[in-house]
Symmetry: C2
Subunit: 566 residues, 2 copies
């Protein structure tokens, strides 16, 4: 049976579905409609055109309609917008944008992959500034050409999500004066507040003016006016506060919308109409860890969904195990990766999950190899099962591989014991013999077994303010280079002989540079009968990153004599 | 109860055991004997001193006895060699190498971590050359100082394992004339013959004289004489043909030796004497995939074993799930990583495992991002279960992260379906939205479902010699830049209209550059009624690498007009 399959949208989801449909069947008629002029471009690479990392805008386009036709016998119609779906007659109305003419195409199966569009709120004075949004090659080309010709190089980026941060970074690399404005107290929600401070520091260190907890109330002539009263110069404004799934076509034709406002689909990505499938940023998917429906604007899942749809149409069985949302980002010299749950999601969704947190720092390769740098790692696990729930890693080195291992472990329902045990590839230029993943497994198991107690760096200010007994077990020279105000310096190497300096009758909080020596010190004390001892997770290095930007932003008194970021 | 625990050997296994023992108990007396002058040095980093990547030999030493004492209260005795074990009296005889004096220490528990020593065969004429082996900091320092002062810069490295290749590479980087001599037909056994050719090419391209399938029969004055009759100039010879577990102490004291010739241990790394444990390169471990005992000279497992022993001594339960042997190596511009089974191990051990192979090539990041390069990937899976058995990856980019994901998957007994499904961290500078790991899962599933057939690049010479019908579906320009002799060029983009040029009555072999277009072509043909169609796994890029060095070495006629390595 030869079928006619229509696809609405020609980027990640649509193009993947089309190619897989053709591999499954040589006979089916496959038509892909894209309202823009390009199909199959690299969405996630768009911001890199602004810095010139990707020189030509056209390089962002990976395939063209001619190749789709010749290589795959797929009719890819760019500049053709589907404006209505008639489910009763199994047809769509298409507007040829160039000719202005409308026409009808019937279908046996219809796949919706319309994506999500940037949200542009109605802010007074919009006419006073040049506002851009970024969704496709045309948008980025337009923005890039515009900024190239402006004389005053002040640009405001509104929104601190992936796109906002990447656009700000690439514009900054191209030497614009960039202000990044975010309404909440942090950028990049996949990272918890304690971890994200590393990015905050990097963003301001690289010369971006980062404004948090402030919102745009209006625009004046080349100015953004914030609710704090602050006025930000902006010859260009990039609006990146978020995206909204494209659901109009679906809604208008009676396709069901889910709880998140995105298109509702079943296990096989079928909508309430079994001849209509939907994939990509326009749909909601099942989150395997929160057990709720969620919107994921990620390319990997879109491609996986598309393939599943093409297979389902061809009667091949597919699995749907839900999603956990793995992602990665580069912020100047730092890389970040995250997967699964983080503490903010747990709070936001009020998830009834009993968890604890490992927060460790280890070099990403053997310390004596060139380029070795500390990696900051945070792992969430379920109590008392030890089941891995999520992780975040930030550092100058290869963080994605560590989070990929965690994502794989989560997939299999793995535990802390599994992380201890997993055999990773080791050579001194790639990792350490005991990788941070193994190390996190060890620390987590010790926590789960209550072999020691910890407090996180975000609690240290409180400790200092309430005059708690903090012991810094680094060597004297390290202490001199910056330390917590009021901390007592007893190097690990002198701990046993100076044990009398530590009180037994009150809580003791111990740190070193990264947490390894202090962990040893905690155990020494516990083994010697001290029972109220805490390791400061994140230690002095983590604390320096944690405090730096907040001290700057809130203009508050430091709790350390000097930060130390090495 | 205060115990006295002695440890023989102070590198990876010994030092890790000592530190963990102290964390477990503050009271135990812990003495670590090391016959050399250093404890706790970075074994795997030794070769990098030769190129100056690690400038000072002393940088290789990570800890010293003073620090062990002060930080961990561990008595680390360097230059102290244990020369006998008296199990009946639970004591050891130790020789202080500096004073020449022997003394006795008793123990409650004894941990053997003596490592493995380089094998130096008895080859005639040894006195005619300056022979070095590499095991520790003293060795590498000695070699480095010697080569720095020689006038004639010819060095022969004998043995193509990890150490041989890394030593050859680092000496070459320091601009010596290096000959690497290996007795078998390939270096680096964790990589199969088809994959390792990429390394062979890189080794010769970077100016090392690589000699395979040849052995040393004698040495003459600054010359190595090979069984082929070849004479190799060598002012220095580095012997790296392999290592032998240090079992003398164990044997002499009646500790049981296993089938591989290494020390036999149980699940908890206890020897036949429950008060004597053994870890590291001196022991044999259970291979979770071959189900046999094996010797692993890897730092990660040594550390894991050491920790398990320290925990077992302290009545903590530990798991032993066997090992799969993950490893990584850098060979000039190429990185390699491998885990689990490969085809040579299966053949060598005559394992009764029914398996098939995925061989794919994909860029390591989005093609338009700077530095994107092809990654060569080989995956072994069990038939018919799809269970993952092993993988190898070689490329200029981040291969270790892909093999880490496979190693994690193997740990959980995962299958091809799991690889399809795993959600990895994606951003265009780190990977592709569908990563090569997912892609290999898809290809493997298709193979398992018999949706297409394949032959590997190592069979192409046979195909050419027997005049098989080979179709090159790359574009004309690509074909002109180098192709298989006798192949018919029908670009994928012209395939449907030129279908009549392809015979239906004989087998058809299809390739493109990396295998993606040819896979599409295979499906087109199959869907159009051709039933004897094969995809050439590895495609033209893989073929070029596969043939290059063998053509050079065997001085045989090329089966391609020109290689193409891009």
């Amino acid at each position: 049976m030869i079928r006619k399959i229509l696809i609405i949208g020609g980027v990640a989801g649509g193009a993947s579905a089309a190619a897989r449909l053709r591999r499954n069947s040589e006979e089916d008629q496959i038509i892909m409609f894209e309202k823009g002029p390009h199909v199959s471009f690299s969405n996630c690479s768009l911001p890199y055109h602004l810095s010139g990392i990707i020189k030509e805008a056209e390089d962002l386009v990976l395939m063209n309609p001619e190749l789709f036709l010749k290589q795959y016998n797929i009719d890819a119609r760019v500049n053709n917008e589907v404006i209505a779906i008639d489910r009763k007659n199994k047809s769509v109305i298409v507007k040829n944008i160039l000719s202005g003419q409308n026409y009808t195409e019937t279908y046996d199966k219809l796949i919706l992959s319309p994506g999500a569009s940037p949200i542009v709120p109605n802010i007074p004075g919009m006419e006073n500034v040049k506002v851009f949004t970024i969704r496709n090659v045309v948008d980025i080309d337009k923005l890039n050409k515009f900024v190239k010709q402006i004389k005053l190089k002040d640009i405001a980026v509104i929104g601190g999500g992936f796109i906002g941060v990447e656009v700000a970074e690439n514009l900054r690399k191209a030497e614009y004066n960039v202000t990044l404005i975010e309404g909440t107290d942090q950028v990049l929600r996949p990272y918890d507040y304690d971890m994200v401070q590393i990015f905050h520091k990097e963003i301001v260190d690289k010369g971006i003016d980062l404004i948090l907890e402030d919102t745009v109330i209006k625009f004046e002539e080349n100015k953004v006016i914030l609710s704090s009263g602050r006025k930000v110069d902006a010859n260009v404004v990039v609006m990146a506060i978020g995206v909204s799934p494209e659901t109009r076509l679906a809604k208008d034709s009676g396709i069901e919308i889910g709880v998140t406002g995105a298109i509702k689909v079943d296990k096989n990505y079928q909508t309430n109409d079994p001849d209509v499938y939907a994939v990509g940023d326009a749909i909601e998917v099942y989150h395997a860890l929160t057990h709720t429906m969620t919107k994921l604007s990620l390319a990997g899942p879109a491609q996986k969904e598309a393939r599943a749809v093409a297979d389902h149409i061809n009667n091949k069985s597919t699995l749907n195990k839900g999603y956990i949302g793995s992602s990665a980002i580069e912020v100047f010299d730092y890389n970040g990766a995250a997967t699964g749950l983080n503490e903010s999601i747990i709070k936001l969704l009020d998830l009834k999950v009993n968890y604890d947190v490992v927060r460790v720092i280890l070099t990403d390769k053997v310390g004596i190899m060139p380029g070795a740098a500390p990696m900051h790692f945070k792992l969430l696990f379920e109590v008392p099962t030890g089941k891995i729930l999520g992780a975040q890693a930030i550092g100058k080195g290869d963080v994605t591989k560590r989070i990929d291992v965690i994502a794989t472990t989560i997939k299999f329902g793995g535990t802390l014991e599994d992380l201890k045990d997993v055999e990773l590839c080791y050579a001194p230029q790639f990792s350490t013999a005991k990788d941070i993943v193994n190390y996190a497994g060890y620390v987590g198991t010790n926590l789960l077994n209550k072999e020691f107690k910890q407090v996180n760096v975000d609690k240290v200010r409180e400790l200092v303010e309430s005059n708690r007994f903090i012991v810094d077990v680094r060597e004297q020279g390290e202490f001199a280079g910056g330390h917590i105000k009021g901390a007592t310096n007893i190097p690990l190497s002198e701990l046993r002989e100076r044990i009398n300096e530590i009180p037994k009758d009150k809580p003791v909080y111990i740190h070193c540079r990264t947490g390894q020596r202090s962990y040893n010190a905690v155990l020494v004390l516990q083994n010697l009968g001290f029972h109220n001892v805490y390791n400061i997770a994140g230690s002095f290095l983590g604390l320096s990153f944690y405090e730096y930007y907040n001290d700057l932003r809130l203009q508050r008194e430091r709790i350390v004599t000097e930060y130390n970021f090495r």
